[in-house]
Amino acid sequence: MKRETAPDSKGIALASVLSNRPIRSNFWKLLLKLDAKGSRLFSKAIPGQFAEFDVSSVSVPPQEVIPENLRDQASRTILLRRPFSFSDISITYSIEGTYVTLEIIYRVLGPATIRMTSLKTNDVISILGPLGNGFWYPEPMKHALLVTGGMGAPPILHLASFLKRQYSSVETVAFVGARSLDFLPFEVKIGNKTGLALEEFECLNIPVCLATDDGSAGRKGFITELLEEWLRTHTPPVKQTVIYACGPEAMLAACADIAQRYQIHCQVSMERMMACGIGICQSCAVQIRTLNPDQSPLYRLCCKDGPVFDSQTVIFGENR
């Protein structure tokens, strides 16, 4: 099983805003055009990698336009960069030269993302990356099961389009879960025959199984229940099937459990509070299984050794 290693070349680059708009509820989509250095660095970035954004100098929007429940947060100052994965990376070839565009989906949640909503076209921010290890592709792979919960969607979307381009013979199914309809970070079309469609997957021709905790979109329940149901009914060849998951840690743990029971290879993209993103601060520790249970805990760094891990190596639930 081959694993892509992190590219040697990471660095600080400038990114100018092409567009920044709300997609639905409090999710926004940001398109960034990278400078020459950034384009060189990110042209080889793969799904599951991420970048650290410096938005400390981005202005806070006027109090009136900030949702009331976030106004208290909005006045906080920002020191550290914020990690974001990409929902897409594309390369544009033009007469002015080649440049890379990053697409980011973010949820307005705290002081950094509140500021990000005020980014306007041509504004410039500093980004550091590409960072970490992305998803990898065990051979032979015939079925890719993409599982996402809530804000875990962006790297899974990136992976979906990557698989369609690079591994077009792989049969891909998306399992999309969220707390409720409001927590789906997608361009959602409501009212067609199937009831509800996620455009991002629809345009890639990837079938979607949808579940929300409260039943406001798709099936009521956890997305991992749908995953297991699908595995039971479709019985794909386990050695040629891969589960790719990104979302809340409880969901990742459930995926790992299913993968183990069905003997399917599973990769999980983990999330941790992170300061530097380059392996020096040691804050984003992920606990790893050891052969000897008496041994003291073994940690790997989410930023440098992850964020994507083989699910069978991770001890879940350590992060509160």
């Binding site: 020191l79 941790r272 040691q282 940690y299 992060n319």
Partner: protein, 314 residues
């Protein structure tokens, strides 16, 4: 007409018997073991590098969350996660050997004998120029800050560590979490410290008001970043006037430095050199930028030797 030539600035400083190419260090715990920041700047242009804490045996570190951001700062409770002295020698020392810059190893332990064992193991190695004694880590249950808050223990551990470090300079890192930092500073000097570094982080807490629990798994952590800078400047000045200057011992000043002007403040307060810490997390080449800014400051203020700034407070 001839234009006056740009005055050159001598950035070199002497520090605890060493000659540094400039007074900017990378602070311990924010610059990895050796090579991690090499992708972002030429480490040989930096005056010195202080490795993250090395203990006798590997330490896994604390549970997560290990950090949380605060206004103009951050709390960390990493718990001295490190690879241990033997792996450090095998894997990192060869990289340090290839660097021209001055290298201090930050040493931590749970007992005096552990500190000594680490220094004994490393002192003969050519790649290592000196030691920083971490007796001020707020995030471990044993050792660390428990040594650093008791002047008698500070003196004792310094005296023994100095025997182990031999001809290589021993710098003692002080905690600000004491009633009078000048007392601990004098204790370290009495014990034979060649230099003092200050300040380590301030013990602090952030509470999640929904769960009513501390955010950090360790409950408390060390506050660093711009939020602590004015306090750190004050404490450097206090130690300089009350302990270091009378004894002729140099200070490495740190605490929230992120710009060249921050660094100048520390030098004026009495530091002979400065260390860049948390700023590196945001800007991996922060130290190089600060160094460039220091040179500009000196040129604009017609300072020919940067060491003239030390203790220059009026």
């Amino acid at each position: 007409m001839d234009r006056p030539s740009e005055s050159s600035v001598c950035l070199s400083v002497s520090f605890a018997g060493l000659t540094l190419s400039n007074p900017v260090f990378l602070a311990s715990g924010t610059s990895g073991y050796a090579d991690e920041l090499g992708e972002f700047m030429n480490l040989d242009t930096i005056g010195g590098l202080i490795t993250k804490s090395i203990t006798l045996l590997p330490r896994p570190g604390n549970s997560t969350p290990r950090i949380v951001e605060t206004d103009a700062g951050m709390l960390n409770a990493i718990g001295l996660a490190n690879i241990g002295v033997e792996v450090f020698i095998q894997e990192k020392v060869p990289i340090l050997e290839s660097l021209q810059t001055t290298v201090f190893v930050n040493v931590a332990g749970q007992s005096i004998s552990e500190y000594l064992a680490v220094i004994d193991r490393l002192a003969p190695l050519k790649a290592i120029d000196g030691f920083e004694l971490n007796i001020s880590c707020p995030n471990v249950k044993e050792g660390g800050i428990t040594f650093g808050t008791d002047p008698a223990q500070v003196e004792q551990i310094t005296r023994q560590a100095k025997k182990s470090s031999g001809s290589k300079p021993l710098m003692v890192k002080l905690t600000p979490s004491v009633t009078d930092i000048a007392v601990t500073a004098r204790a370290a000097i009495e014990g034979g410290a060649d230099a003092l570094s200050l300040v380590n982080t301030f013990t602090a807490m952030v509470i999640d008001i929904e769960s009513r629990k501390p955010v950090l798994a360790n409950r408390t952590g060390g506050l660093s970043g711009p939020a602590i800078k004015p306090i750190a400047v004050y404490l450097v000045h206090k130690v300089y006037t009350e302990a270091a200057r009378p004894a002729g011992i140099p200070l490495l000043g740190m605490g929230g430095i992120r710009t060249a002007s921050d660094a100048v403040e520390f030098l004026l307060a009495g530091a002979s050199a400065v260390a860049v810490g948390t700023a590196t997390f945001v800007q991996p080449d922060a130290a190089a930028r600060i160094l460039a800014g220091l040179e500009t400051y000196c040129r604009e203020h017609h300072i020919s030797h940067i060491s003239e700034l030390t203790g220059g407070l009026q």
